[in-house]
Amino acid sequence: MKSGRTSWLVAGLIALALIFPQFVTNKYYLNILIMSGIWSIVASSLNLVLGYTGQVNLAHGAFFGIGAYASALMMLKLHLNFWLALPLAAALAGFFGFLIGLPALRTRGSYFAIGTLCFNIIVTLIIDRWEGLTEGARGLMGIPGPAPIPIPWIGPIAFKTLTAQYYLVLGFLFLTLFAMKRILNSLVGRTFRAIRGNEELAEAVGIPAMRVKLLSFTTSCFFAGIGGVLYASYIGFLSPELTDYHVSFDSLVYIMIGGVGTMAGPIIGTLLFVTIPETLHVAAEYRLFVYGLILILMIIYLPRGIVGGIGSLMGKKTKGVP
């Protein structure tokens, strides 16, 4: 379905991302790119349920946080290896997503958005107050990085340098995007979009809406959990604020600015919103003001985001918008 020109563009961008650290060795820029990569994973996973299935989930920060805290606790208290903690923590985030999805997905529209938002607040409160497990407001410190992968004959691959961390995050970003692409191109992915279009109609043609929504929601939470694990092991410190609903809002902003319901949208939005404020060095309160203003102007004048805007400039058929 994809035109040849777009495939070449994607291949070129992947190649650029792969060789990037060979040219830029500046730690500051690498750090920004690693953070963008992690947040891109989170935003892309939210896009699956929000952009493609049309359910405005505002609990994404909680699932990100559950993944981050679960992996950190597994590594710190149970001394599990990173490579074991990663799938376990992501699966736990997915499992929580399943449990929350069961009641929450019965509601629609604003009810669903506010219900999930309240769930996010409950999770943050529990993490903040359950000091015996999570250290509360003091935060979790000294979370170990990924363990080296031993490979016979070549020797172990360690993740000590920023460049190695960059490739690790990039690898997981590709994995996430690849999984999204495969899901969305499958029959299941089409049922997602059918529900976004019209839930009653989808049910009328025999799509089990609740089960499909639950599948999309759980998958999305699983990948948010992966983002959380990567964040925890990269930064090495976690506090309850990292799980709160501002994380959900941020991801939502990245998606809406980049282009909701498109593959590239969340990544473009994240790159812009993580890099530009970092490099501009403006005071935090003015930054918030500009954020807010851009958000309002974009949503009024360019509601399909940058990707959607470019798409309509090039005369492509409209995509996205739940």
């Binding site: 405005v56 009641p103 929450a104 019965r106 509601t107 629609r108 529209g109 604003s110 009810y111 958005a113 506010i114 219900g115 938002l117 309240c118 769930f119 607040i121 409950i122 409160l125 529990i126 107050r129 809002f249 939502l252 902003v253 809406m256 309160e285 003015y286 930054r287 918030l288 003001f289 954020y291 807010g292 203003l293 851009i294 958000l295 309002i296 949503i299 009024i300 509601p303 918008v321 739940p322």
Partner: protein, 287 residues
């Protein structure tokens, strides 16, 4: 026993503030069908407005209340005109995103203008009163009485005046209302102004008991959303009863079970409601 009564009274006081904030939210939802997520931030602006009126300009407290309501009513109308009106025909999620943008802007304006410090209202009516063996400050009673009066006046306005009737008409059927010559633009503007003024009243009433700071709005904002889901979105009795219920759940849960997890009771109540009665107490079916 005394502790129980004290907690109930506190619960009613908190609940009447939640009711006022939720009433504004539910009115706006009933007309425009948007979750106005920046509602709590206007509540915060109102608290600052009346705080500066009383401390810097030595305005009478009740005059400050009225001025804050008027100022915020105008702010609400401006927001409706410049932010929500262009989005009226867009998907609801777009209005929600605009509300998040608005919330960020208002919060940053407050941080730039007022700084992040906590401020305390000068003592006004903090003389304790003996009531059935309870010791209560007058301010707490005034909050309850003033909130009840405002709710009563709102009800009169909606049921007994032409202007109020147009709001109900648009809430029931926008097409029908337009058909008989009611301007949707004007009603939206009026509703937004009214809803925001109610939040301003709530803020001015409660701030002498709590503190004034730029992020003070997010708590009541979320609670008000919990209230209108419990009560049913767009329902006025739902907002009043839901608000009182939430206040009581919070103060009794906080007083007798655990203060640490006080907020969890409120949000837990919401999750319970969503599970068993997703349309709320007075709702007409989940959308």
């Amino acid at each position: 026993m005394v502790l129980l009564l004290q907690q109930i009274l506190n619960g009613i006081m908190l609940g009447s503030v939640y009711s006022l904030v939720a009433l504004g939210l539910t009115l706006i939802y009933g007309i425009l069908h948007i979750p106005n997520f920046a509602h709590g931030h206007k509540y915060m602006l109102a608290a600052f407005t009346s705080f500066f009126l009383v401390t810097n300009y030595h305005t009478n407290y009740w005059v400050a209340l009225v001025i804050a309501m008027a100022v915020l009513g105008l702010v609400g109308m401006g927001v409706e005109r410049w932010v929500y009106r262009p989005l009226r025909n867009a998907p609801h999620i777009n209005s929600f995103i605009a509300a998040i943008g608005l919330l960020l802007m208002i919060e940053s304006i407050a941080l730039i203008l007022f700084g992040a410090d906590f401020r305390r209202f000068p003592p006004l009516y903090d003389r304790p009163i003996q009531l059935f063996g309870l010791s209560v400050t007058l301010q707490r009673l005034l909050v309850i009485l003033a909130a009840a009066l405002l709710i009563f006046l709102l009800q009169l306005f909606l049921k007994r005046t032409w202007l109020g009737a147009t709001i109900e008409a648009v809430a029931q059927s926008p097409e029908g209302a337009q058909f008989v010559g009611i301007s949707i633009d004007r009603v939206s503007s009026l509703t937004f102004g009214l809803g925001t003024a109610l939040a301003a009243a709530a803020a001015t009433l409660i701030t002498p008991i709590f503190l004034v700071y730029p992020t003070m709005g997010s708590g009541p904002n979320l609670k008000a959303f919990v209230v209108i889901i419990i009560g049913g979105m767009g329902s006025i009795p739902g907002a009043v009863i839901g608000g009182l219920m939430l206040g009581l759940i919070e103060s009794l849960g906080g007083g007798f079970i655990s203060t640490d997890y006080k907020d969890i009771f409120a949000f837990g109540a919401l999750v319970t409601f969503l599970t068993f009665r997703p349309m709320g107490l007075f709702g007409k079916g989940a959308r």
